[in-house]
Each structure stands twice: as structure tokens, then as C-alpha cells.
Amino acid sequence: MLVIKNAIIHVGTGYIKKNYDILIKQGIIVKIGQDLKYNGCEVIDASNQEVFPGFIDPVSSIGCIDKTFTINDQNETAHPVTPDLKIKYAFNHSEVMFEGLHQVGITTIGASPGNTNVLGGQMAAYKTWGLNSAKMLIKEPVGVKGSVSNLVKQTYGKRDQAPQTRMGIFKVLNETLAEAQGELERGGDCADDEKKSIVKKILKQEIPLFITANKSVEIAALLNLLKQYKIRLVICGAYQADRCLESIKKMEAGVVIGELVFLTAKNYNNTDLYRLAQLQEEGIPVSITLSGESGPVGKVKYIWNAIELYKSGVASEEVLKMMTINPARMLGLEDRLGTVEVGKEADLVIYTKNPIKSYFAKVSHTIIAGKLIEQKGGDS
């Protein structure tokens, strides 16, 4: 048992509770209240400190990729449609990029294939601390990851294989979905391979589809094509999604705003973060990530991206939703993670101040599945 005493709790739903205690038993938050009675507990005195739900990066190839691109296990570039592939076979929990994500407060990632394939494979959600990936696994699959970005064209087009153009990308996506949809409508028994059966799950809304679309042309085309299907869509990258808000609302698609600082992505795309964040008022989940056009970046940028949103004028508790409950919803984990509430898993980060508002905020504790994670020296 663990008790966090006298904390400022950022629930993750927009509410803040001051001077509350959190009681954790067997990895679960069992009680939140003032002056809780407890015996035989490990105690963290969090007076004047701020407790947040552990942060979640919903779409990340961290663990499957390295800086020198010698691993590159996130992109199977033999064929543009590979929904049968599973990221869990590529995910290395001891990869150097993955280590220490909890040091900034990230406690869950949606491990996912990259951006070279129209449908790249199945995602898995992992906690960021544990002995091995089987023990860290939260749920699998949590989504199918695909892309309609330039990287698809570059990958296949340069070999004179389809798709070489944006037309080609959308043809491939449409024929894959249409074929499965046709079989679903006809009913009856079709001999399904793994590829088809996972596409059918997307069409039956049993599993969400995460598609990277960075530019407004890509996003608009994606939404236009997919409106004929019933799909739980999450748009990733989405740097110019502020220009497609109406069609996003109609589709009720989630939005994962790609990493903003690396290669000056936000500035070059003229991303209007404040406008994008208004989607939340319509009930559309918006989230942030460490993944950019060319892959993931280092962990401190997760906080910087939150700050960019706050700087654009978005309220800090709204930004916090983008780091917690919204990505949890996207991954179908909102019953287990994403808020500080009774019954949820005890994935928490305690900061000395609110890191969205002040750089002078340090992680004092990270708790994953109720367990206090030892903080190593903080490299960035």
C-alpha cells in the first residue's frame, strides 16, 4: 500500500483537488480524500506538489527504432498494406530511446508502426517501466497504424511501385477497405486471412484506425475517402488539421498533433494550435506525441509540446487532457488510465510545480502500476 499525502491533484478531467490524499492498493487507486486514515503504508508527502495522471504518448515507434536507423523495425517496406503485422514483435523495452520516458512523467505509450505504409500494422499499449515487454503490456492490439503522408510515396514511388502519388495512396487505401466492406455486407462465410480480418475489425469499429496525415491536402483527402465508411479514426501528425476542422468534427475523428519543435515543424506548417484545441470543446479528443514526420524525438520535447499549446492560449487543464485522458480514450484505455480517480490504475507523476506553466518544475516521483519508480539522474 502506498499513500500520497496532501497533494494538489490534477484529475485529468479539468478539475483540481487541493490538499487531498491518494490511497493505492495493489496498483489501483482505491481512495481519494482528505485526511485519509491509513496504516502500514509507504507514505509520500506531496505537500505543495502537484500530482498528474501519468502522461500518455498514443502513437510512438520508440523502442522499435534507433538514431542510426540500423534497427528500423517499425516499417515493413516490402508492401504498403500490412495490417496483419504486429508491433509487439518489434518492441524492445530496453532500447536506449525508450529508457527513462518516465523521467518526464510518460507512463504509457501506444507502440506503433511508422509512416511508410498505407496500413502498417497493429499497435500495442505498454507501460514505460517493467522487467520485460510482456509484463509492461497493457493491451494489444489497440489500433491499426497507417499513413497517407509523403513518406509512403517516397518509399514505394522511388522503386516505381505503387503508390507513387497521392492518388495511388488513396486508391490502395480505398480498395483495401472496399473489398473488406463488400464481404461484410454480403455476409456469409469468407475465408479470412489475418489481413482481411483485421480490416473488417476496423470497419466494424472494433478497433480504431490511426492514420498519419500531415498536410491539409492529405487530411482533407483522408476524411473525404473515409466518410463512406464507419471508422473510429485518429489523425496523426495533423500539422495542418486546423484547416479541416469541420470535416474532422463530422467524422468525429481524434487528432494527435505531431511533434512541433524538431525540424521546425510547427512553424513551417503554420499550425494554429489554439484553433486545433477548440476541437476539444466539441468532444473531439486531441492529444500530443513525441512522434514527428520522420519518427520519434527525445522525451523533453513532450513537455515542450504541451508548453507550445499552453503558450498558444489553451488553458493548462485542457492541455493536460491532451496528455492523459484523451490519448487514453484513443487507445481504448479510458476505463483503466488517464485520470486520477478511484478504480483507475495508479500511474501517476508528481511534479514540484505544474510543468505546463513553469520550467522550474521537477519530477519528484513517478508511480507506475502503484510502484514507485526509482529516478535516475535526469538526462534529456
Binding site: D66, K67, F262, T264, N267, Y268, V297, Y359
Partner: protein, 384 residues
């Protein structure tokens, strides 16, 4: 004349002045203090604002690189020859790049622009203001350093062509060879001048190295982790001034850095990590380096990271335990000294260029600190 009234002034040379005024004439600061009155001056009210010297980023590639699609350009890596000391970054720069506007809109008024790290010896870096239409007019000083790259970048570029360097072992050999030839050339030249003899045949490449040998400019050495020891050895052997640029892993080489007398150009951070060059990306090292008296600046490597992330970098140094006032120096006066332009910029002092930023909120502490006005050469180039 322009009079900035009632700002909290962080000059970088004296304690903060509450409710201070700055008087500007032409492009220079002519008076700083409290209660300055000047009837002829236009007044810029700065109530509740913080005045800082224009920020300085000591290592960028803006105007010469853009790695985002579809506007991909790289005019700062001439990867056709691994030793190119006589290349000048200034000829690779397009001042129409939007990165310059992102710079001054976010308070960064001076940048060092350097060739990339594709070559072992890459060429001359220069310093420029961030506002203007003609890079040669924006230029403050050229050269400010000779750029040299250790480690993975030149190795990857040339190694895959089966040319030198394909290993780290070759890199110091190549640099020392150039420096030795330049030293010999310089000695011959000086001897000829002394004895009124015929000068040796003009060598453009070696001429470009002479300012380094004369310690007029430093070597600007791209290196991280254990490559720092190689850099220190080369510089010591030839008695050169030098900066360690990027300097990831510096916390494991504190004693060697202090002893070498070099300056540190640290960053960017938040990069992908990997074993080898990017194993340890330790912003916390700047806290200890600063404490031990090493001149440290923080950089973005823009546009590799967006130029406005300079403030995030400063914020991370604060998070790592450095006092805000010390960190602000790392993006102003320290950076200006390191790139050799502190006579003009980097602090708010009488006689210096009127490059001034008015912030609402304390940058490096308050994440929402916002530029209300930016002045370059006494001219308001941006106001919110």
C-alpha cells in the same frame, strides 16, 4: 531617439534595475538607468515588462538549411571534398528564409550561422542580425570561427563512398595535416615578409586557416561524448582557441574541459538517443560547467530544432538546477562572447547596439513568457 520607460532591466552586466529606462539614439544605447528624461525622444512604455538584450544563438544553420518537405534545401554541406576551409557559410544563406522572422519574433536578434558537419573541415561560420533583406548587410562579423566536425557525420558521408574518413581514427589525422600545412605556410609567409623574399604561392585553403592559427578566431568543433578528448588534444597541440559544439556527455569530461580553457556551445537537446554519439544528452552538465567558470552558451541548431526552442532549452537548464539569471547569460552575453561579437551585442550597455527584447513574463522560468517587442539596431522589428 527612442526612450524605453519603466522596464525591469536585466542588462547581464549589473544587477536587475527595477523600473529602468533605456535611451537609444541612432542604433546605439546611449543611456541606461532610472528616471531618464529626454524631450526629443519617442517613448516606448514598458510597464510590467522585462527588458533583455536581444537573445543570441551561437550555432544555427538558418537560411541555409530546411529539411522539411517539400522545400528541402541544404546549402551548408558541400560534401564533395572532406576538407573545405575556404568555404564561407555566408554564401549559402537566403535571408528570405522564414526562420529569420521566427528568430526575431521570439527575441533572438543575433545568430551564428555555420556550415554543417558533413565535412571534416567545413568552412567559415559568421554572425548576423536576424532582421534584414541582405545577408551581407545583416552580417556582424565574418569569419567568427572555422567549423570542424568530429565523429559520425563526416564518417557517414565519406565512409560510404570508401573515402577518408571512414573511421574516427582518420579524422584527427586529417585535421592535424591541414593545420600543420597551414602553420608551415604561415611561417614561410612570415619569413618571406621579414626577409623581403618572394612569398610562397598563394593557397586559398591555407589562408582560410590562418586566422585560427593566429587565434583571431576559434575552431568551432562539432563533437559529443568521447570525441571531446580528440578535440582537446588537437587544439592543445596547435595552441588554438576552440569551442566544443553540441557537447553531449560533457558531464563526464568536466575536468578536461575546464583544464583545456575551451568554451561550450551546448545543445540541442530532446534529440533521439542512441548508443555512441547520442548516449548521454545531459543539459545538467551546463549547471556544473557554469559553476566551474566555463563560458557556456545554449543553442538550437536551428532549423534542426525550431529557433524559438532556445527558450525551451534555457528552461531545461533552469529545471536542471541553474539560476535563471545564469541561464539568461547563456543565451545572451556568453553566446555573444563565444562568437566574438560581445563588443556589439549580448548585453545592455551604453555604446552597444540597441538590440533589446521586451518580455511579458520571465523567460526560462515562466513557460508563457511572451515577446511584446523586439528591437534590432534601435528599430522596432516586431511588436505583439
Amino acid at each position: 531617439m527612442l526612450l524605453i520607460k519603466n522596464a525591469k532591466i536585466y542588462s547581464m552586466v549589473a544587477p536587475a534595475i527595477e523600473q529602468g529606462d533605456i535611451l537609444i539614439e541612432n542604433n546605439k544605447i546611449i543611456k541606461i538607468g532610472q528616471g531618464i528624461e529626454e524631450k526629443k525622444a519617442e517613448v516606448l512604455r514598458a510597464d510590467g515588462l522585462i527588458a533583455l538584450p536581444g537573445l543570441v544563438d551561437a550555432h544555427t544553420h538558418i537560411g541555409g538549411m530546411n529539411f522539411s518537405q517539400p522545400t528541402h534545401t541544404d546549402d551548408l554541406n558541400e560534401m564533395t571534398n572532406n576538407i573545405t576551409p575556404d568555404l564561407q557559410a555566408i554564401y549559402g544563406i537566403d535571408p528570405g528564409s522564414p526562420d529569420f522572422a521566427y528568430a526575431y519574433q521570439n527575441g533572438i536578434t543575433t545568430v551564428a550561422i555555420t556550415p554543417g558537419s558533413g565535412n571534416v573541415v567545413a568552412g567559415w561560420a559568421f554572425a548576423a542580425k536576424t532582421y534584414g533583406k541582405n545577408i551581407f548587410e545583416m552580417c556582424i562579423k565574418n569569419p567568427i570561427a572555422l567549423k570542424v566536425a568530429l565523429g559520425g557525420n563526416p564518417k557517414r558521408v565519406y565512409g560510404k563512398r570508401n573515402q577518408q574518413p571512414s573511421t574516427r581514427m582518420s579524422i584527427p589525422v586529417m585535421i592535424k595535416d591541414l593545420l600543420s600545412r597551414a602553420k608551415e605556410y604561415l611561417e614561410k609567409k612570415e619569413q618571406a615578409q621579414r626577409e623581403n623574399e618572394e612569398l610562397p604561392a598563394y593557397d586559398r585553403e591555407l589562408e582560410a586557416v590562418i586566422p585560427v592559427l593566429k587565434k583571431e578566431i576559434p575552431l568551432k568543433i562539432h563533437c559529443t561524448q568521447f570525441d571531446m578528448l580528440t578535440a582537446i588534444e588537437i587544439a592543445r597541440e596547435f595552441g588554438l582557441d576552440f569551442t566544443l559544439d553540441h557537447a553531449w556527455g560533457a558531464s563526464e569530461y568536466l575536468e578536461e574541459i575546464v583544464e583545456s580553457g575551451c568554451k561550450i556551445v551546448f545543445g540541442p537537446i530532446g534529440s533521439m538517443k542512441s548508443l555512441g554519439e547520442a548516449r548521454l544528452i545531459d543539459i545538467e552538465s551546463v549547471v556544473e560547467l557554469d559553476r566551474r567558470g566555463v563560458l557556456v552558451s545554449l543553442i538550437t541548431d536551428a532549423p534542426i530544432l525550431s529557433i524559438d526552442s532556445l527558450l525551451h532549452h534555457a528552461g531545461e537548464a533552469v529545471r536542471a538546477g541553474c539560476a535563471v539569471e545564469r541561464v539568461l547569460r547563456m543565451i545572451t552575453i556568453n553566446a555573444a562572447e563565444i562568437i566574438g561579437v560581445a563588443d556589439r551585442v549580448g548585453s545592455l550597455e551604453v555604446g552597444k547596439d540597441a538590440d533589446i527584447v521586451l518580455f511579458k513574463g520571465l523567460p526560462a522560468y515562466d513557460t508563457k513568457a511572451e515577446v511584446i517587442a523586439a528591437l534590432i539596431d534601435g528599430k522596432i522589428v516586431y511588436s505583439a
